[in-house]
Symmetry: C2
Subunit: 215 residues, 2 copies
DNA sequence: AACCATATCCTGACAGTGTCAAGATTAGGA
DNA sequence: TCCTAATCTTGACACTGTCAGGATATGGTT
């Protein structure tokens, strides 16, 4: 990932002194950005809608007009998060060899990238019960991420439930443990060494050589 | 796992009508059991200390005398959970072939067993920020679980950071995704088929054949 | 230019939460 | 028997999410 991830932020964060106009301008985007900051600071379990409103410089009930309730805000944030999650994988794939296996490894590296770069958002996507996963937009974004995996596994010469499960589980396990600060002996490695190791580990999950693409 | 996991429950759940004695008898154990039920019903993020007290049939402030605050209760529950987590692995190992590799696979199956049998508790251990992981008892229990993995990896002929990470990540990824209800195509398989598949997937993470035990 | 329907945002209220302080009740030892 | 300490309850406070109703600005219409 060469360039920084796209920020949701838009409006300046409540410039005190300057009489804030009654209408914010782009409160929706500001709230999403504030919500991600809040998640990063206090964690998913310490998340407070009122604090998010305070961060954005609006009253505690303002978010309701854009997201309904707290779940609505977190659902919208999660949907946007899944899209950026997929983008993180695509960014790695773009600079990887075109070989299907290497593309799959690259996607795994992007998976881990996202988890380590934005752990709070990663936790919201995968470890939280607060977003409404039956929401249409969120469901579509999440399904797109999964479908990308399925396609890649098929391209790499495996299409069984086992192959999908193995690749997904390995990438997810690495991402989750690393984002949570576990796997300390790996976190203390220099960046390039660690990346090479993660790639090697991801390769273990790939469909066995010579696996048929039908089945 | 032949026998049901040891329940923390001890006292009957607030027999209404019978005048409850002022002193509970074993409120500490009852609160731990009620807390796990509460986690199962409302999730880690919906956890309410007052609800736990209500479940146990005591006043809302009673838990404080045994656990200090909500974090204390969840910390104690997590410590107990880690011990049972390790026990779930040991149960699988006991009925597996003595081969080091198969023992490692068995541990992974126990890992997944625990996650699928008691998903709420699993989430508390691995995906929550509420327990105090600097607590001595919890830290020791968690470290014991990790140490067990390290020992097993070493016995299986690998002792590098990469081998530990691969095995841990694969087991953890499978457990996490399955406990969260993802990997649907795997969840719908009949029990034995699924178990065999999980075992096969776990084997992919094992140290490569002929790896030296030194390094 | 004047107006108004509507979107946007605020204030105030309510029930529920975790935690603290102070009092009531019981157990166990002197 | 009495007294100390542990156990549990009651009441209060600040905080949370959400709802109802009022204030303010916007953009199109006349």
């Amino acid at each position: 990932m060469t360039d920084s991830p796209p920020k949701l932020r838009d409006a300046p964060p409540a410039d005190p002194g300057a009489a804030r106009p009654y209408h914010h301008g782009d409160l929706r985007a500001a709230l999403l950005a504030a919500a991600e900051d809040e998640l990063a600071d206090r964690g998913v379990e310490g998340f407070s809608l009122r604090q998010v409103a305070k961060r954005a410089g609006v009253s505690h009930a303002a978010p309701a007009h854009h997201f309904g309730d707290a779940q609505g805000l977190l659902t919208a944030l999660a949907a946007e998060g899944f899209r950026q999650f997929l983008a993180a994988q695509a960014a790695r794939e773009a600079v990887a060899p075109p070989d299907p296996g290497e593309q799959l490894v690259a996607a795994g590296l992007g998976y881990v990238d996202f988890a380590m770069t934005r752990p709070a958002l990663f936790r919201l996507l995968w470890q939280s019960e607060r977003p409404d996963f039956t929401d249409a937009d969120l469901g579509q974004a999440a399904r797109a991420a999964f479908q990308h995996l399925v396609d890649q596994v098929a391209a790499a010469g495996g299409d069984s439930t086992a192959d999908e499960g193995a690749v997904w589980a390995m990438a997810h396990g690495l991402a989750d443990l690393l984002a949570a600060g576990r796997l300390e002996s790996m976190l203390t490695l220099p960046g390039e060494t660690r990346e090479a190791m993660i790639a090697d580990i991801l390769r273990r999950a790939l469909p066995p050589r010579g696996a048929s693409a039908t089945g």
